[in-house]
């Protein structure tokens, strides 16, 4: 996020794209509600009528995967009606002419054809966003889980720069991350192309600095493979051994049967987790890890805030914190790795990572810190891009609308959309074992529009089979008009409804995010 969570409540215009905030990020949802209570205009872009859409002044129920067309359409109106923040564009950005040219054809009428949103509403939303004092854009995977996910994000940034709604309070471009420490895992270089703080592995001086600190002569220079590419390489027999810590790709990744096949093909798989997950079952060795309550550490939330995790109890049984296990494996492989505590590890991170340079457990004891925090006396940076972008001038990146990789056809006439539920989390390994959440919300269902249900002869509560080109699952139907005709929806929390058996592995070419939000399916009643 460019701005803190607490800023949202003070915005006077909120554009929430593909985020069912009140269910996926309930406490951020409270800020959205607060803003609305204070008179802010809320616009929600989502094919489904979610809870937060119910609060919106405008709910733009666009056709799945047409976000770029809509965003370009908004930019088109803002430019053609002279609503551009000229001072901001002149002094802080470059590439405006190219953007202007690119969005010229996205007139409200043309965009209406693609998205199904009326030209009048597109104009009204564009004007509202452009003329608001402080407008904020929120988005989540609803925007990024498409083959064009990266372009979607660029289109959002274009809009914010056109109107100067960035680099100041109560505004900005704000991705809401799904898991507690996705931000931190990225910051720490758990990515194939960068080390900590997004320092590229391809840069010689970066590598030599890390190599010196880590006591080795050199580090690999070639960017590695992403999750999806690793799975594919494993299926081809090129990757032979994998070490998986605290992830469950069998349920979370697209085309689950393919993932299982690939992992089974490995010569050796070690999985480190707190439960015997669907992925751990495939392992040769399973190492028992400690839960968050059993260790010290830090998490970095979606607004870049680094906060302490504190040990409350001893690890269960013989379980060990993940950091200790990694040290044991490294040492056994001939690279002695030893730390007295996570605080020591943070000291090393701070030395190697400019944006974490001023972060220490001592400071975190009294309060959290928002990075970039380059020095021990630096207060942290809750708002990014104030006065200047990291790269100097903000660059407009014109982007074009591309239809989803897999569209409905005669054989698979419906679009499957997947997401999260309020009472559950990710692949359910934790929330299905709480003695409370699963008791209250214990079974998954498939949401289907009454019109589709009628034509398929499906009644509320019927068991149905959902079939895509890649796999099938059985689930109970719930007939509701919160999903539009032509779209069915379910979550990926429940192992018995392993919906990612069906989803498409087609990926965005840059960020390599699979297109989990759109794939073609058919639904049949089970006799």
């Amino acid at each position: 996020m460019t701005n803190p969570i607490g800023d949202i409540g003070g915005a006077d215009f909120i554009l929430a794209i593909g985020t069912n905030t009140t269910e996926s990020h309930p406490v951020i949802g409270l800020q959205v509600k607060k803003a609305v209570r204070n008179g802010a205009t809320l616009v929600v872009v989502d094919p489904r009528r979610t809870e937060v859409a119910g609060l919106a002044h405008h709910h733009l129920q666009l056709k799945s995967g047409t976000d770029i067309a809509l965003l370009n359409g908004l930019a088109n109106v803002i430019i053609s009606e002279g609503l551009v923040n000229k001072e901001f564009v002149d002094t802080r950005t470059e590439g405006f002419e190219a953007l202007k040219e690119a969005v010229a054809k996205y007139t409200p009428e043309y965009v209406a054809e693609i998205t199904g949103i009326s030209p009048g509403v597109i104009r009204e939303v564009a004007r509202g966003y452009a003329t608001a004092k402080n407008a904020t854009i929120l988005y989540t995977m609803g925007l990024t889980q498409h083959i064009c996910g990266t372009d979607n994000v660029l289109a959002v940034a274009n809009l914010a720069m056109l109107c100067g709604h960035i680099g100041k309070p109560n505004s900005g471009v704000n991705p809401l991350r799904g898991q507690n420490n996705v931000q931190g895992a990225c910051d720490m270089g758990a990515l194939p192309n960068v080390l900590t703080g997004y320092q590229s592995v391809t840069l010689e001086d970066v590598r030599s600095r890390f190599a010196a600190a880590w006591g080795v002569s050199e580090l690999p220079a070639k960017p590695g493979l992403t999750v999806g590419e690793m799975i594919e390489a494993a299926a081809r027999g090129e990757i032979k051994g994998m070490y998986i810590m605290g992830e469950n790709p069998v349920l979370s990744d697209p085309d689950a049967d393919h993932v299982i096949h690939a992992l089974e093909k490995l010569d050796f798989l070690v999985v480190q987790d707190i439960f015997m997950t669907e992925t751990a079952r495939l392992a040769d060795v399973v190492l028992p890890a400690a839960s968050f309550a059993e260790k010290d550490g830090t998490f970095t939330n979606t607004e870049r805030r680094v906060q302490r995790v504190r040990k409350a109890i001893e690890p269960l049984g013989e379980a060990k914190p993940d950091w200790q296990i990694i040290c044991l494996v490294a040492t056994a492989m001939g690279y002695p790795m030893q730390y007295g505590s996570p605080a020591e590890i943070m000291e090393e991170i701070a030395r190697l990572t400019p944006s974490y340079g001023g972060i220490s457990y001592q400071r975190l004891e009294s309060r959290s810190l928002v990075w970039p925090c380059p020095a021990p006396d630096h207060p942290g940076t809750p708002i990014l891009h104030v006065g200047k972008f990291a790269r100097g001038l903000g660059k407009f990146h014109p982007v074009e609308y591309v239809p989803p990789a897999e569209l409905p056809d005669e054989e698979y006439p419906l679009i499957l959309n997947t997401g999260r539920r309020h009472f559950h989390y990710h692949t359910g390994t934790m929330t299905l074992r709480t003695g409370a959440l699963e008791e209250y919300y214990g079974r998954e269902h498939l949401e289907i529009n009454p019109a589709d249900a009628r034509s398929l002869g499906i009644a509320d509560g019927d068991r149905v089979r959902v079939v895509s080109r890649r796999g099938q699952v059985e689930v109970t139907a719930r007939v509701v008009d919160t999903v539009p005709p032509g779209v069915v929806f379910t979550s990926f929390h429940f192992p018995e409804v392993a919906i990612n058996k069906l989803t498409n592995t087609a990926r965005d070419p840059v960020a390599r995010i699979p297109e989990l939000k759109v794939c073609a399916v058919r639904v049949e009643k089970i006799a």
Partner: protein, 351 residues
């Protein structure tokens, strides 16, 4: 900003104009008891426990809804004030079950605190009592309306913090109670079980089902930490008894204040779930067998090492975790690059 100066219990206190008498007293470290007031919620002025004497005013005004003015002379503990507070507590006790011995909030209850403070030993009135059935048909929250003192905090918390308006006052007089629309239960309403009403309830009318059954209030140690679920990063206190996490309570989090969602507040049960892995496992002819750490680590080291030797570093891959700590992700990245010699590391950020 304009300031006003008033006298509270003989002391000069200067505060910004618009400050309430309650906040002015608190800023000077002078104690005034409250039941219905909460700094985060709209002032209501309903319980009247916070009454004070202000010279020149005929009645005893509620300090939480009275604005401080220049020259005001306030007495927070005059005999009339103390008498009024005693009467309020007696009236509340007259319609309160004498249940402290088994109440889950025993030791953390404002009514108990104030009865003790003002030496109110018994109700002093013989009145009709409520006999509402206990509401415990959901796995998260127990509602015992017999203990409700009608302070309305839950109503305001639900409306103003949670933005839900699930519960409200209903009926009149003696029959007044707090209930969801149509007098149904929470599970029959739009309630999302955030428990933010529980966090503000001053008495035992709203309780966390699991926590209050597992521990008495003075038995728990509280450890401040960050929620393991979504990317919001709410702060809360893990409540620990005898080495077990028995519940979660709100603290004043930097991101969330006291607000949490159902997962953060009630989703801790996985920590001690019997399915937790507690021993290293090695698969032998398709079946997992328990092993020692030494054996398991050596096997991992040997297998990864021999793949690296035979096929090169590019034949190895690592998935790190969006659920592990920064320190662990950092070490995993270091391990992958230094020990395995590859950049094949990723996590499910994309999912």
């Amino acid at each position: 900003m304009a300031e006003v100066t008033l006298t509270i219990d003989g002391r000069q206190v200067t505060v910004p104009a618009g400050t309430t008498v309650l906040d002015a007293a608190r800023s000077a470290g002078i104690f005034i008891p409250t039941l219905c007031h909460d700094p985060e919620l709209t002032p209501w002025g309903g319980c009247r426990l916070c009454v004070v004497e202000i010279e020149g005013m005929r009645n005893l005004p509620a300090s939480c809804v009275t604005t401080a003015t220049n020259g005001m002379v306030v007495h927070t503990a005059s005999p009339a004030v103390v008498e009024a507070r005693k009467t309020i507590i007696e009236l509340l006790l007259a319609n309160h079950p004498e249940d402290c011995l088994t109440c889950g909030r025993n030791g953390d209850c404002r009514l108990q605190d104030y009865a003790y403070l003002y030496g109110v030993r018994e109700a002093g009135f013989v009145g009709e009592r409520h006999h509402y059935p206990l509401e415990e048909d959901n796995p998260f929250i127990i509602r015992d309306l017999n203990k409700c003192i009608l302070c309305g905090k839950c109503v305001r918390a639900c409306a103003e913090i949670q933005g839900k308006n699930v519960v409200d006052f209903a009926y009149r007089g003696f029959n007044t109670k707090i209930t969801p629309a149509m007098d149904t239960s929470l599970s029959g309403s739009d309630c999302v079980f955030c428990g933010n009403c529980v966090a503000v309830c001053p008495v035992g009318a709203l309780q966390e089902k699991g926590l209050r059954a597992a521990a008495r209030t003075w038995e728990v140690k509280k450890v401040r930490t960050t929620c393991p679920y979504c990317g919001t990063g709410c702060t809360f206190d893990l409540n620990v008894k005898d080495g077990r996490v028995v519940g979660v309570t709100s603290c004043d989090g930097e991101v969330n204040g006291r607000a949490l969602c159902v997962k953060g507040r009630f989703g801790y049960g996985f920590i001690h779930h019997p399915d937790r892995l507690t021993k290293p496992l090695i698969k032998r002819s398709g079946v997992f067998e328990e092993a020692s750490w030494e054996e398991a680590i050596n096997l991992v080291a040997e297998k990864l090492g021999s793949i690296k030797k035979e096929y090169g570093s590019a034949a190895l891959g690592v998935l790190s975790s969006a659920r592990c700590t920064n320190e662990e992700n950092y070490l995993m990245s270091k391990f992958t690059r230094v020990v395995l010699g590859t950049n094949n590391i990723d996590h499910c950020a994309r999912l």
